[in-house]
Amino acid sequence: MLELINVSFQVESEGKGKEIVRDVSLTVPDRKLIVITGPNGGGKSTLAKLIAGIEKPTGGSIRLDGEDITDRNVTERARLGISYAFQQPVRFKGIRVLDLIRIAAGKTLSVADACEYLSSVGLCARDYMDREVNASLSGGELKRIEIATVLARHARLSVFDEPEAGIDLWSFRNLIDVFRNMRETIEDSSILIISHQERILAIADEIIVIKDGRVEKQGRREDVYPFLDADSAEKLTCEGGIRAMGKGGEAE
């Protein structure tokens, strides 16, 4: 279980302090899939970075399974069981897909075992194992590999920052199945996804809306989702997910 208790994050901007995250308290319980949504610039991605340890909160504390991890660095948090998928996957010259999956798994996986992770994100594994994780891969391919590295970690908490960003509609539809499958096979872990995508919102156990750095709403999907439609549908529509689907030609 992950707990954020009165977490704030402030940056210096033009000589003034600017609050990106304001006094956020939330809980990600075990065996649940939580989706954080809300307008762009509202502090969602910063929140994910604060959880992964990439940014340090300027106030409040973060706990994982009751242990205070606020002062733990990225490596320590990873070793404690937090996994984080980047919104924009990082490229590496010379590091192969197989190397990255092995590093993620933390052991020398057989090629066959590594293949399983790639297959589960819809990549024809054998074609990719020896490819370098560099610019020769498309945005969709990189995104799937990024997600495969998170799967390979078997983490206590997996955080995905906008998995729909930067990939085409066709790839995205397949990714929904990956998350649905993760949700169905969830055991002693939990999943946190930052997303605007209504199909991801539709598989959430709970939805948290972050706006202007604050928690605006949170609750069970059944309680929050219809309200989002009535109140924030347009905002969401303008922010990529649903509009992208419309452009993709799919009748929703």
């Binding site: 490596t75 984080y84 590496f92 010379g94 590093i103 933390g106």
Partner: protein, 308 residues
């Protein structure tokens, strides 16, 4: 012939991946003496008469054979210049593995200057691998100055892999190539320098014939206070294509100078140069740290991959 001791055997493993006597033709040079030689039906190795070095003659049409010519030095203060000439017959297809390992525990400099000349006949194909390695805790420097000359007849091809990752204090590498029509030269250079090391690599490649091509790519890492210079010149004298690339990571107080040189003397010459020098991207470190590596482990993975 002198038997090899453990240090010499270790150097051989580093520079030639040799654990035992190699298959095919070979000549092992140890402290300026021959420590073993074998010619085969198609590959003849003989000593030069006028200067120190070898002549390696490969018969036309020889396929899938290899030549190993490693050099190991363990005596401090040894300085040598060696001239090796390779004559590769028409349509032969061979692998040549050279390499030099120096272990210097003494206080005097050890130096090996290897001048390799390759004469490729029409349609000949060579894969050439050259690894440099230095070890030993003495104050004496380990110095390697390889000179490579490649003369390529029509439709011949040469792929050169040059690797120097560890322990060589000072290197000046000079490579010259002359390409006739349809000839193809590919160079992959990988270099890492530490401490106060200095490595200079200079290329001068003449694309003389129609449809000749050269592709020279250097990937390097400069650590501590080391210095590297990559100076690659391609001269296009016909309808040809040439590409040079210098891709480098700098760390600590390392310094790198990349000097591109392209000269087109023909309207259909097509030449490109790319160079990028920078430190390891912060996001690469963070990504690997989110997978559980420490910053130092992440750095090592990134460099190993980069120099693969």
């Amino acid at each position: 012939m002198t038997p090899l001791d453990e240090i010499q055997k270790r150097l051989l493993r580093e520079v030639a991946d040799l654990h035992e006597v190699p298959e095919g033709a070979y000549n092992i040079r140890s402290n300026s003496q021959s420590a073993g030689r074998r010619s085969t039906a198609n590959i003849e190795i003989v000593s030069k008469q006028d200067v120190s070095g070898l002549e390696v003659r490969i018969r036309p049409g020889t396929k899938h054979e290899s030549v190993h010519i490693p050099v190991v030095m363990t005596e401090s203060g040894l300085k040598e210049v060696v001239y090796n000439d390779f004559f590769i017959g028409e349509d032969a297809d061979v692998v040549i593995i050279a390499g030099c390992g120096i272990d210097n525990c003494g206080n005097q400099d050890s130096q090996h200057d290897g001048i390799h000349r390759f004469y490729l006949e029409k349609g000949a194909k060579v894969r050439y691998v050259e690894k440099h390695y230095g070890s030993g805790s003495g104050a004496g420097k380990r110095i390697l100055n390889p000179g490579t000359e490649v003369y390529m007849k029509e439709n011949s091809s040469m792929e050169m892999e040059m690797v120097q990752i560890k322990g060589v204090d000072d290197t000046e590498r000079t490579t010259i190539a002359e390409l006739d029509a349809g000839a193809k030269l590919v160079v992959r250079e990988r270099l890492m320098t530490h401490g106060e090391q200095r490595a200079i690599s200079t290329y001068s490649v003449n694309l003389n014939g129609t449809d000749s091509s050269a592709d020279i790519v250097s990937r390097s890492v400069a650590r501590d206070r080391s210095f590297q210079k990559f100076d690659a010149k391609i001269i296009g004298k016909a309808a040809c294509s040439g590409h040079t690339e210098c891709d480098s990571i700098i760390m600590d107080q390392g310094r790198i100078l990349a000097v591109p040189g392209l000269e087109a003397d023909h309207v259909d010459a097509s030449l490109f140069h790319e160079a990028a020098i920078g430190k390891i991207a912060g996001e690469q470190l963070i990504k690997l740290m989110t997978l559980g590596l420490t910053e130092a482990e992440a750095e090592e993975q990134i460099i190993n991959g980069f120099l693969r």
